[in-house]
């Protein structure tokens, strides 16, 4: 019987990686179209409306970028953690903690005006980094699975923010609303024109991506991080200090998510708000950003823009197409699903099986050399 056989391939080429990634996204978009049809919205018409209001419209485009900013920062941080196979699922909580710390500085610390914003970023970074410290220590010292600890800490962070805005930090002027007081002008980030594009955070995100890419490619630390991710046994043999390396990379990864949180409170909300409004799941979407970027920090800038576009399109779908708000989550889920489903294409290839051969996988192929 003639048939096909699955075979492991070598390193996939860059073209193949791009092609497969774009293909996965295309399949996800196709699925989204079917979803639209199911809701009684003509897919092509929907696409036209979305493109018109997100990409072709200046204000719409600015919304895409402003949605992308937190995704870039958190996503870039995650590419670093994921390179070492530290599966940080806690960017959401780390982002919130960064926002809390920045709000704390804005609300309660008296600083000269020009220092307020830098102080908020620094404290936000450090607080989020400290939030990531627990899972990092538990992993390297006791072997506790970081996926569980980082994920669980998200809920702790969510309830911490909720408690703060309903309790001790609840605004004096806003009885009835779960907000903190509004920040002083010195604690508010400038935006471009009348848009909500807080450009200092965008600059920071690009710098973070460049820094992480440089760290991985050029430094001994980055080399060791990649070693840990590629082969923990080889890293142990090479004398990599797992404790120190994991700690540093988690601090950077979590800290970057914290910066995203600072940007959201200082650039968009200007106060600490309910966690559900503060982050529309940026920390989780950032996981897709990092994976779609294939753990490449610079590519994460591009994939963050793409998922920022998905999020901004979600707003359009709600307003202009009257689709439920959950549709954004469904589209993101589709994208992630397609990327993961496409992964085997990068690792294996189909070849024609030898004639009349019943080949168990371990006996296939020519003599191993």
């Amino acid at each position: 019987m003639n048939g096909l056989r699955i075979e492991r391939r070598g390193a996939p080429s860059a073209a193949l990686v791009w092609g497969v990634s774009l293909g996965a996204v295309a399949v996800a978009m196709l699925g989204t179209g079917l979803l639209f049809a199911a809701f009684g919205v003509a897919p092509l018409e929907a696409a036209r409306v979305i493109v018109e209001r997100t990409i072709l419209d200046a204000r719409g485009a600015s919304e895409v970028v402003r949605r992308a900013i937190p995704l870039m920062l958190a996503g870039v941080g995650l590419t670093l953690a994921f390179r070492a196979r530290f599966w940080n699922i806690g960017a959401e909580g780390q982002l919130l903690i960064g926002a809390v710390a920045a709000a704390g500085v804005a609300l309660f610390v008296d600083l000269p005006g020009v220092l307020t914003i830098p102080a908020m970023f620094v404290v936000g970074f450090l607080a989020a980094a400290a939030w990531g410290l627990g899972p990092a220590l538990l992993k390297v010292r006791l072997g506790v699975n970081e996926i569980i600890t980082t994920l669980m800490l998200n809920y702790v962070a969510i309830y911490l923010v909720r408690w703060l805005v309903n309790g001790p930090w609840k605004g004096s002027s806003l009885s009835g609303f779960a907000y903190s007081d509004r920040f002083d002008a010195a604690a508010i980030l400038p935006t471009i024109g009348t848009t909500r594009l807080h450009w200092p955070t965008l600059v920071l995100a690009v710098l973070a991506a460049v820094a992480v890419a440089w760290l991985l490619a050029r430094t001994r630390f980055g080399f060791e991080v990649r070693m840990m991710g590629e082969s923990p046994e080889a890293a142990r043999y090479a004398g990599v200090d797992f404790f120190r390396t994991t700690l540093i990379l988690v601090l950077v990864s979590a800290g970057a998510a914290g910066l995203a949180g600072v940007g959201e409170v200082a650039g968009i909300h200007h106060r600490l708000v309910d966690p559900g409004s503060l982050s529309i799941g940026y920390g989780y979407t950032a996981i897709i950003v990092a994976l779609l970027a294939r753990r490449n920090a610079l590519a994460a800038l591009v994939t963050a823009l793409f998922l920022g576009w998905v999020a901004a399109s979600g707003d359009v779908m709600q307003v202009a197409l009257r689709l439920p708000s959950q549709i954004t989550g469904v589209v993101q889920g589709l994208v992630l699903l397609c990327i993961i489903a496409a992964e085997p294409i990068l690792e294996y290839r189909l070849v024609r099986a030898p004639r009349r051969a019943a080949t168990p996988p371990d006996a296939a192929g020519p003599e191993a050399t």
């Binding site: 980055g222 043999y237 004639r355």
Partner: protein, 545 residues
């Protein structure tokens, strides 16, 4: 020999006629002719990539030839699957056993038989197995779980399986790689009995001495072609090696040019426990001098892995002293020891020796990236890394498409060359080499051995852990034998016999006059492991067989 009824007149048991098998870009077998007669052990020799495995796959129905014919007892044979092969009377004992580890021997045998009843599958087995076991001198506990069996015992189960399936021609793929010399002898006795019964055996091996001792005929494959087909009595090891490699191969001992120097490594009363706290090394004493190769022999799992891990800093000893040039280094990590010149050719070359997904150039500096010229402060100087890679690829003849190729895609021999180039390319004080030639072909093995000798001659102390006794006898000056975490003896490699080492490997100290080896006898010796298994087995094995 009567001309009419002689073996020449009868068709051979198994015959390949002009068999060719092509894969994209390579001719794996090129017009191969092979005749295996009844009552014959036919050895198939060849380097990695010579086409042995493809040939076996075709004989066992895993692949179909593109051209040529397969005949059994003169009848053409079309094998579409291993099932057909088994039905035709062809059995295979693969290198990696195909047994369900959690199941008993009886269950595994029942699984392999076509006429096993659906209910109580193992009930009718005992009688058949007993008869076979008696005929071949097997001892098999049908109720034992496969996981608890030694490699030798598992192999006997595989052979039993093939015999129960009615194998007239049995193919054995590298059968002795997991056995002690004594176990290998028992295997050869079994093969002898199969010969007497008129069955045929195809023995795939790269151990030349073994082939010469057991086989009647030898076929040598190189590059997919048969390059020699000779009677075992008409050839010798050097001749066969030349056919395999296609050129003259040096074999045998080569003494060091000058006597060994000062003690470089001194291990005193070393104890190591595993993760569960079970002792893995129990009071080991060991010395390696500069300019000397000390071999460590033992059946797998007797503490060799733990010894190399402790010496290279991958594991912390529970007690004892490790001195390097007089300094106590016990408990130091990989990094410190590497900086002291302790290099390591690890047993697990694909997962530990290299990071498979990284570039060849990166793997060539995997442990040296903290040293000049590769480190520039906290940066890596990639230009120096690349320049070094170009040099190493040239000097060690590493076959790779480029220095940027993914290391995982290299062949085993070339991965080992990457490791050798990295570990031996710098300053070395102590070389710890663990199974350095395992799975390598003759040429790569030769290179590995040359490099280790070079290290010795250059004044390094070399500790060579191997399960290949020929390798140890060829290379080492002294051989330390480990059994259950203890040193059962130290022998001079120039005068030691394989048999003596084999007994020591099984924990029997009679080769040393029965007296326990003075320094390694420890107080906890009798306290451990009540006689539950192999302890008394080897003595019986050696006496009886």
């Amino acid at each position: 020999m009567p001309p009419s009824s002689g073996p020449q007149a009868r068709p051979p048991l198994l015959e390949l006629r002009g068999v060719t098998k092509r894969f994209p870009g390579v001719v794996a077998n090129d017009a191969v002719d092979l005749r295996v007669r009844r009552g014959e052990v036919h050895a198939l020799l060849g380097e990695n990539g010579a086409g042995k495995t493809t040939l076996v796959h075709m004989l066992y129905g895993l692949q179909a030839p593109d051209e040529g014919a397969l005949l059994m007892d003169g009848e053409p044979l079309a094998l579409r699957s291993p099932r057909d092969a088994k039905a035709a009377g062809i059995g295979l004992v693969a290198q990696h056993f195909h047994l369900a580890r959690r199941h008993t021997v009886a269950e595994n045998l029942a699984l392999a038989l076509p006429d096993t009843p659906a209910w109580f599958p193992t009930r009718h087995l005992a009688r058949r197995v007993d008869a076979l076991a008696e005929r071949y001198g097997f001892e098999v506990d049908l109720r034992a779980r496969v996981a608890t069996l030694s490699p030798g015992e598992r192999q006997r189960v595989e052979i039993l399986k093939a015999l129960l399936q009615g194998a007239e021609a049995l193919i054995l793929d590298e059968p002795t790689s997991v056995l002690t010399p004594q176990e290998a002898h028992r295997l050869f006795d079994v093969l002898g009995r199969m010969k007497q019964e008129g069955r045929g055996v195809i023995l795939i091996s790269h151990k030349l001495d073994e082939v010469l001792a057991v086989a009647d005929r030898v076929t040598v494959l190189r590059g997919g072609r048969v390059v020699a087909q000779v009677d075992a009595t008409d050839t010798d090891a050097a001749d066969l090696a030349r056919h395999m490699v296609g050129r003259e191969v040096r074999r045998g001992r080569e003494a060091a040019p000058r006597p060994a120097g000062d003690v470089r490594l001194s291990v005193r009363d070393l104890h190591v426990g595993d993760a569960a706290g079970e002792p893995r090394l129990r009071g080991v004493h060991l010395e390696v001098r500069a300019g000397e190769i000390v071999g460590v022999a033992g059946v797998a799992g007797n503490g060799q892995a733990e010894l190399t891990q402790v010496l290279t800093g991958l594991r912390t000893p529970t007690a004892g002293r490790i001195e390097l040039d007089g300094a106590d280094v016990a408990g130091e990590g990989v990094r410190d020891l590497f900086a002291r010149g302790v290099v390591h050719i690890p047993e697990d070359r694909n997962d530990m020796g290299v990071a498979g997904g990284m570039k060849v150039a990166e793997n060539l500096v995997l442990r040296r990236h903290r040293q000049a010229p590769f480190a520039k402060g906290r940066m890596v100087d990639w230009r120096a890394v690349d320049a070094h890679a170009e040099g190493a690829i040239r000097d060690y003849a590493i076959a790779t498409p480029s220095r940027d190729a993914v290391t995982r895609n290299l062949s085993g021999g070339n991965v080992q060359k990457v490791i050798l180039a990295r570990e031996l390319g710098g300053e070395t004080g102590l070389v710890v080499a663990s199974h350095p030639s395992y799975g390598l072909d003759v040429a790569a093995t030769e290179l590995t051995h040359d490099l280790l000798r070079e290290q010795r001659d250059g004044g390094a102390a070399v500790l060579l852990v191997s399960e290949d006794l020929d390798e140890l006898l060829d290379l080492a000056d002294r051989i330390v034998v480990l059994f259950r975490g203890e040193v059962t003896g130290v022998v001079d490699a120039a005068t030691a016999t394989r048999e003596a080492i084999g007994l020591l490997m099984a924990g029997d100290r009679t080769p040393l006059g029965g007296a326990p080896d003075a320094p390694s006898a420890t107080a906890n010796d009798p306290a451990n492991d009540p006689a539950n298994d192999p302890a008394n087995d080897p003595a019986a094995g050696a006496g009886a067989e």
